[in-house]
């Protein structure tokens, strides 16, 4: 589903290279965890996948279902089924959460040549999805993410993911700022979306999230490259021994 080949990317503004020859393949149905020390380029990778224009790809390619997505803007990538759950969801005053959800769902449908949702149908879908994530309906009456607690913001991200039904989900440190109960709710939400035709990339610092969302593969990112790939035991090994050994072995 996703094939990243020898990717090099830098910050557009100052030219700092962050991703330095990254290779990664994620198959349909796979849950891939990306771990790595601070500053290794994990969040940057998630932004580049989503198409943020603060980063420039200088070499290599990203193939999604066999096609390069480098020329697509974020909304076109989203319409093709790529979803980024933000580490820090943005608060947007004045934009009502329900209105935002409706516009997003309908624009994606339109881009795929599907019919727009009728309002009652839309409301029903949102209510069901919100209930499954234990989201208080009052929260949806507020402006987008405004006044949401950290946990509420992360749940709102998963709600959006559920409603938009993407093919490739990228979760950027979705566990940060979550208490144990919220972590469980969010993980259950993600697990419910696991399917043979959907892939999930979980970016995290900690093994804890991976106890709930059990990965098929684990990749260690360091200085903008994947330096080691393994199965879920690799995450346990990292938890016990840290990154130093792996970094040394790769050097």
């Amino acid at each position: 589903m996703l094939e990243i080949k020898n990717l090099h990317a830098r910050i557009a503004e100052d030219g700092t290279e962050i991703i330095r020859g990254l290779n990664l393949t994620v198959k349909a149905g796979e849950v891939a965890a990306i771990m790595g020390p601070n500053g290794s380029g994990k969040s940057t990778l998630s932004y580049i996948l989503a198409g943020r224009d603060d980063y420039e790809v200088t070499e290599g390619d990203i193939l999604y279902n066999g096609e390069s997505i480098l020329e697509l803007d974020p909304s076109e990538r989203a319409a093709k089924g790529i979803f980024l759950a933000f580490q820090y969801p943005v608060e947007i005053p004045g934009v009502a959460t329900m209105q935002f959800l409706k516009v997003a769902m309908n624009e994606q449908r339109k881009a795929r040549g599907e019919e727009e949702l009728k309002t009652p149908e839309f409301i029903k879908l949102v209510k069901e999805a919100a209930a499954s994530l234990q989201i208080n309906p009052d929260m949806l009456k507020r402006p987008l993410n405004v006044g949401f607690s950290g946990g509420e913001k992360k749940r709102a991200e998963i709600l959006q993911m559920k409603l938009l039904g993407p093919q490739l989900c990228v979760l950027d440190e979705t566990d940060s700022g979550l208490d144990i109960d919220a972590l469980k709710i969010v993980s259950d939400g993600v697990n419910a979306l696991r399917s043979p035709d959907r892939a999930v990339i979980v970016i995290t610092h900690y093994q804890r999230l991976l106890e709930h969302i059990v990965p098929d593969t684990v990749h260690v990112l360091y200085k903008g490259q994947v330096i080691k790939t393994g199965d879920k035991d690799l995450a346990l090994d990292l938890e016990a021994n840290g990154y130093a050994g792996i970094i040394e072995a790769a050097a």
Binding site: A50, G51, R52, D53, D73, P74, S75, R77, A78, A79, F83, L84, F86, P89, V90, I92, P93, G94, V95, A96, Q99, F100, V103, A104, E107, Q108, A111, P143, Q160, L164
Partner: protein
């Protein structure tokens, strides 16, 4: 010593004086009203239209900007559905009021009657020598409405003053008084016609008795060639609350003055102003607010969206009298400048004579937030729609504060439509 020579009248000044000569015989009023009108016209003749040298008109040089003074309005103008279904509509068509049955607890009369009987003569006094709107409107005023809401009355239905104009000149006056603890919501709407050149003036006076709670929404939807000069004067009694909204969404040349006196202790003013500016237009909102007694509060937020070559002005003057301790006044003016050729001038002015007060003011000019745009686009919303949502959100934040959901929806739809038409 040099003699100040008066510049010759401009074409617009001449046209104003000619119009008066032409129409004076038809204007309603007894002898004192007629004398008051004559006095106002001769003041216009001798002082001319204000220029940038008159401080209160510094950013709106009317002498230079007012170009097209059309003849008197004639014919008909298309009335429209009220903003909120079920509102009581007080129509003003091409400047003329209609006979409307007032709801219970409201006494209503046409302004023409008040002028004809001479009762309105005391209102034909301008605020000062720089009050061109007061002068012009006082000289030419033909009609309008006056109504009063009895004490303790809660008027459930929205009252919509719907003034529709299709070119020509119209000059109206409105007076509304609200008895003690009365509550009401009024939509004060002026609509123009596309493709017609109009000149309109309006002077509105609000009097809120103790404990009255009023929402007054000025909705300006002039045509793109219209010139609009409007003034609102409000007095707040003790514990009275005025929620004043101004939404400017049209016109070529617009000046909306707001003069509010917090005259009773515990009174509160909320001013929320949305200026949607496009084309080659010039829009000026000028506020003077007097905190005249102790323990009064106010909050003023102005949000501007500037497109094309539009120019906007906000002058916000807050005066705090020496006795007005514990005044709390917060003023903000935020501009979303979406064009390199547009401009917005904000001039806050605080005159504080009391020593135990909080007065804050701030002005910002911003562009669309990059992080917001990326977030929305990452959810599949196209750049154009995402920008639209964000611009809408910037002004809808103020509209959301209204309690009446029908009103919120109607105003947000109107704003959305404007942005879709001009964005």
């Amino acid at each position: 010593m040099n003699m100040q020579t008066k510049p010759p009248h401009t074409a617009a000044e001449k046209a104003i004086l000619d119009s008066f000569a032409e129409i004076m015989g038809q204007l309603p009023g007894d002898a004192p009203v007629t004398a008051a009108r004559d006095k106002l016209v001769s003041a216009i003749s001798s002082d001319g239209l204000p220029t940038r040298r008159v401080e209160s008109w510094h950013y709106t040089d009317l002498r230079n900007l007012l170009r097209d003074v059309p003849g008197q309005a004639s014919g008909a103008a298309q009335q429209v559905d009220p903003l909120v279904r079920g509102s009581l509509v007080l129509p003003v068509v091409q400047g003329q009021s209609a006979e409307i049955r007032a709801p219970e607890g409201v006494a209503l009369s046409s302004y023409m009657e008040l002028l004809a009987s001479g009762e309105a003569v005391k209102t034909l006094v301008p605020r000062g020598s720089d009050d061109l709107i007061g002068r012009l409107n006082g000289a030419f005023v033909m009609d309008g409405y006056s109504f009063s809401v009895a004490a303790d009355q809660a008027i459930e239905e929205i009252i919509e003053i719907q003034s529709t104009q299709s070119g020509g000149q119209v000059h109206n006056r409105f007076a509304a008084s609200f008895g003690a603890k009365a509550t009401a919501t009024i939509v004060d709407r002026h609509l123009g016609d596309k493709g017609q050149t109009g000149l309109s003036s309006a002077v509105t006076t609000l009097d809120l008795a103790d404990g009255a709670d009023v929402t007054w929404i000025i909705l300006q939807g002039c045509g793109e060639d219209d010139q609009r000069l409007a003034q609102l004067n409000a007095r707040l009694g003790a514990d009275a609350r005025l929620k004043l909204y101004v939404i400017n969404a049209g016109g070529k040349l617009v000046r909306q003055e707001l003069h509010v006196e917090a005259a009773g202790e515990g009174s509160h003013l909320d001013l929320r102003c949305v200026n949607l500016l496009a084309g080659d237009s010039h829009t000026d909102v000028t506020l003077t607010l007097g905190h005249n007694v102790p323990n009064t509060t106010s909050s003023e937020i102005v949000r501007n969206v500037v497109l094309n070559r539009a120019r906007g002005v906000f002058q916000g003057q807050i005066r705090v009298a020496q006795v007005a301790q514990k005044t709390d006044a917060q003023m903000a003016c935020n501009t979303l400048l979406l064009s390199d050729d547009g401009e917005f001038s904000a001039k806050p002015e605080l005159e504080i004579f009391a020593d135990d007060v909080i007065c804050a003011h701030g002005a910002t000019v911003i562009d669309i937030d990059h992080n917001h745009l990326f977030y929305l686009m990452a959810r599949g919303i196209s750049e154009k729609s995402a920008r639209g949502l964000l611009v809408n959100g910037f002004v809808d934040e103020l509209i959301d504060e209204l309690e009446n959901e029908d009103l919120v929806e109607a105003l947000e739809t109107l704003i959305e439509q404007w942005l879709a038409d001009h964005g």
